[in-house]
Structures are given as structure tokens and as C-alpha cells.
Symmetry: C2
Subunit: 335 residues, 2 copies
Amino acid sequence: MSTIKEVARIAGCSTATVSRTLATPDKVSEATRGRVTRAIAQVGYTPNGAARSLRRRESRTIVALLPDISNPFFSEIINGIEDVAHQAGYRVLIGDCERDPARAGAYFDLLPANQADGVLLLTADVPRALVESAQHQGRFPLVMACEFFNDIDLPTVAVDNYRAACQAIDYLISLDHRRIATISGPAANPICRERERGYLDTLTAHGLAEHALTLCGDFGVHSGYVQGLSLLAPSKRRPTAIFCHSDEMAIGVLKAARQLDLDVPKDLSVVGFDDIRLSEYCDPELTTISQPRSRIGQQAMRLLLGLIRGETITAQQILATQLIVRQSTGKPGQG
Amino acid sequence: MSTIKEVARIAGCSTATVSRTLATPDKVSEATRGRVTRAIAQVGYTPNGAARSLRRRESRTIVALLPDISNPFFSEIINGIEDVAHQAGYRVLIGDCERDPARAGAYFDLLPANQADGVLLLTADVPRALVESAQHQGRFPLVMACEFFNDIDLPTVAVDNYRAACQAIDYLISLDHRRIATISGPAANPICRERERGYLDTLTAHGLAEHALTLCGDFGVHSGYVQGLSLLAPSKRRPTAIFCHSDEMAIGVLKAARQLDLDVPKDLSVVGFDDIRLSEYCDPELTTISQPRSRIGQQAMRLLLGLIRGETITAQQILATQLIVRQSTGKPGQG
DNA sequence: CTGAAAGCGCTTACAG
DNA sequence: CTGAAAGCGCTTACAG
């Protein structure tokens, strides 16, 4: 690989001038600039990123940590993140934590190593110590999106999960449902607790608290199927509606209902969460709560850029959700 | 951030010894090693990655370029890549090219900049010049997975798309289908052409060439729906089976069939490709061709590591696919 | 507008 | 087993 030295030699100037031509071209005379530009093209020079990072003390890379890359919910958020990041000249390193906290740790290590300038946390399922140390000593730029910690205040972009759940349950009650069950995401997840609170409060407000019944899944389609089967088992007094914390789980419930010969929406109404692309293509099409995923990603990245620039940001941005009514919900049958 | 200098000062040794303690601990006396280790823990030292990369002339980062991160087909491949990469101490930078060749270019630029040690190309939809230059001058490590270029030989891990298509069509013919249509991915895509060739050859072998009919989509669910609608329009002599180049498109066809009041599989058989997680949860469950996604990712990463180590690799690894018969295929009805 | 020089934080051949 | 020193390729304050 050619270096700045070689370019300088060919252009007949110092390396400082080559560097300036790249960084602040208006500080270089037109003639010199021309010679340098030609020399760069001639040898196909690309600045060495490691040297540059070392010198500038910045990597122009940010890390986006996901709980699970296979969850389609995240792909559009990532697109939003990348749009803003690339425009600002930043690279996005996508970190998939899976269920492995060690992986999250490895990504956090990039910060003190000067390999990343900030972290976008799309999951709260990460060792608390990591986040706290980020807050304390290093005090490096950290923004949360979608999820949050109950007891750690961070710049955050999220939706109002409480209200979204209220809206879904209100809608089901307006349809005359009374036995409304929930399939939640992981019990410990703060956004799930918010949704659960909205569910319970709305039920209570309508005198239906006694019918409350929540089972937990893991957001994945299989867990929705399994818990759906259990909620809909013929022996029980089955719910006429199920509110799911993800579309994937709702699609799992659809399969459980089919298997038990229950018609959706006649025998069972199903509401999902997220509005993933396939929710419009399952049978029946899913009523769900749409999140502004692309905007969540964009806003979160904007906050992070602000933090990196040294601005003080304490914003908790709450974006609006929207209940999308499709075919999986209706008035309860004679059930 | 603390540096190696500070650690050396606290441990009462030179920076060289600190460095050695990290890189080759057995070359350091036990006593010194102890002092250094304690000093590192005390100040919370993490080596500066940029300085290290600059010095070692390697980044321990590889780039995985995807055509579209929202395609669920890729998530398991990425998991496979990351498994192998992390074990070998490499980071994976996921690059989403979308439809923007400029983005691919930006990721390739990391190579000469010494910010990445190799590229895993999961799409052939990338400016040819980029790949060729990779081959020529820089000659940097490059491995293809899933896709390939017709006329550029690269180390590749893929499945036998031709045989997979033959198998699917043979199966449909064995069921007595004669009018079998295809919804292909992008016409220019080499893997789609392979599948198309398998489709045509098998039809021809059975004297059914006259019934060949292929429409193109983009692998996404919406395009499958649109092309399905067009293939199944009541006015035409409609096919009794459709072979789709992705599960998402097959799910789109399922919706088109529903909308036209066609029963699957009685009126129409549908075969997908990929065996994405949701293919088991749609209605009816999808007959499809399963690819060993995790292994594709692992093998590709292994090849790339070999290349990085300087081994000469010209392997074209072909992994086996499997036809998974579920509920979306059956004997044609009275048609 | 331009160059000489220092220095970012590491690693490693060399000498002892 | 250990240290002094050079150097990886940049950038930038300083001097002119």
C-alpha cells in the first residue's frame, strides 16, 4: 500500500501538505493541490485508518448493539441508524449479542480501545456493570433506543409502550372482548413491563381485572406458538383475544389457533406488536401496533452524534405508535 | 484512558515488558508478570486498538457485505460467520449495501486503509471493478458466499442451485404437475440463472418445455405477491404449481392465491427457497429448499481466515441443500 | 502557503 | 528475562 510519504515524494511537497490537501484543501494553493491530487490518483492512495485514528483520537465508528439480529424488527432501525451515520461520515459496527453477555462485553471494549466513538444500545439485556462503567469513568457516548433501564437515566429514543398497550386493549374492549390474555416478551424486560402495566390498567378501568392472564415468550415465533397452544387449550376457559408483544409471536398464535380449529377473528382476535413486513402477508393479516422504526434509528443516531460532539443531551424522546387494524381482530363470536 | 506507559510506570518496568506480558506471557518472569497484571487491573488498561493495528499492520476486522440486511435469510449466515470469527479473535463489520453501490465502495475502502483484513461477499450485486481491483493490485483476501460471479473465479462457499431447482421441479412433476411456473429473483443474478437452468432442463427432460413460464421478483414478499397475482389471474391458463426463488416470495404467492380464492395445495402447489424460520408458521406451511445457512457462514469465514493467514485457497465449496416437504404442495386438483 | 518536527500508543529486533 | 530505541502512517501547532 502506498503511503502519504510516497504521494508527497511524487507531488514534490511535504507530507504535511498532502495531509492538508485532504483535510483543508482551501489552505493549499491551487497549483500544489493539483499536483497532490494527481499524485494521489496515480498511486491510488488511501489514508491509513489506523494511523489516522491514532493521531486524531477518534475512530468514526459507532457500535450498535442488538439483542438478536434475526429479529426482523431491527433491520429497519439499522437502516435509519446507517442513513444518519454515513451522512456524518461514521461507520456502524453491528454487534449481535445473542444471549451471550460476553459478546456485549467485547463490543464495549472497543470504546476504551479507541476503536469506537460511541454505543447505540438497542437492548437492555446487557451486563449492568458495563453500562454503569460507561456512565462513570470513561463517560463515553451512549444512547439507548427502543429499550431502557428502569433505574439508569440515559439519552433514549423509544415509544410509549404503556399507551400503545392501552390503545390495543381499549380497542379490543370496544369490540366487546372481555377475556383478553397477553403473551409478553421476557418477564424482566422493561418495555414488556410497561406494556403489561398498560394492559392491566386498561382491564382494571373496565372492571375486567379478574380476566387478566399473561404468559411470557421470548418475542420469537415459536414461543408464541407454544404459549398460544397453552392459552387456547380446549379444556380451559379460553380467551377471546390475545395481545402479543411481537408480531412473530402473534404469527405463532395464528398457527396454534389453526391447529385447534379456531377461526381468527371469529373465535379469536389477535393483536401483534411492531408491524413487521410479513404481518401484512400472513393469514389473516395481522392487526398490530406500528413503531416508527426508521425514525427511531435516525433519532438515536442523531443523539449519539451530539454526544460525540460533546453536547450535553438528556433527552428522552418518545415517538408515537399507531394501531393498525387489519383482519385478525373482530367482535367475539358466540364463543 | 490509561496507556501502556502508565502501566509500565506502576509496574516498575518498561513498556516493552508490558507489551510482552500481554502478547507472550511465557517470555516474562513470573514476578514481573504478576506486577504487570496487577497494574493493568488497577488502572483498567485496554490497549489502544488503533496504535496496535498501525504497528501490527492488521485490524482483526473483516467486512461481511450483504445485499439487504432485512432479508431474514442472512441472519443465520451471519451467526455462522461470527461464531468462527470471534473464536479466531476477529470482529465482523456488517455492511448493508442496499441498492447503493457507493456503499459497497465505502466498505471496500476499508481494506487499503488497513481497517479490515478481508471481505466476505454475500452478494454479487457490487461494482465489478471493485472485485477485480481486489484481485489485482491489493490482492486482498476475498471470499464469496451464496452468490458468485460467472466469470471471476473466487474462493466460494455456496449450494448447488442447479440441482436444488431440479430436485424441486422433479418433485412437482412426480406429483403430476405439468404447468409449473417460476418466480425468480432478479434476472441478472447468477444464482437465479442456475435455478432457472435447473427448472428448464427438468421441464425439458419431461417434455414439458412448452409450459415454461418465468416471472422475476426481487426476493421480497411484495414482489412475490404481485407476480403471483399476475400468474394466477383467472383469465389465463394458470399454472398448477409455482416454484419461488425465496420463501418470502412464496409467502407473497400464498396471499395472492388466497385473494383469488385458490386453495393451496388443492388448486395450487407452492415451493419456496431458503427455509426461513417463518416458513413453518405460514398457512399452509411451506414446502421449501433448506440451505445449511449456519455452515455456509462458518465455512466462508474459515476460508477467509486461511486467506488472511496467507494460504492459497481456490476452493469452491458446494454444500448440500434439502427439499423439505410440508403442506403447500400436493397433487393437482381437477384444475 | 509550506515544511520540519514532534508525537499519537503500540510492538519488536537488537543488545545485554 | 529485560530495556532502549526505532518506527508504523498520520496530523497539527509552530515557525517562516
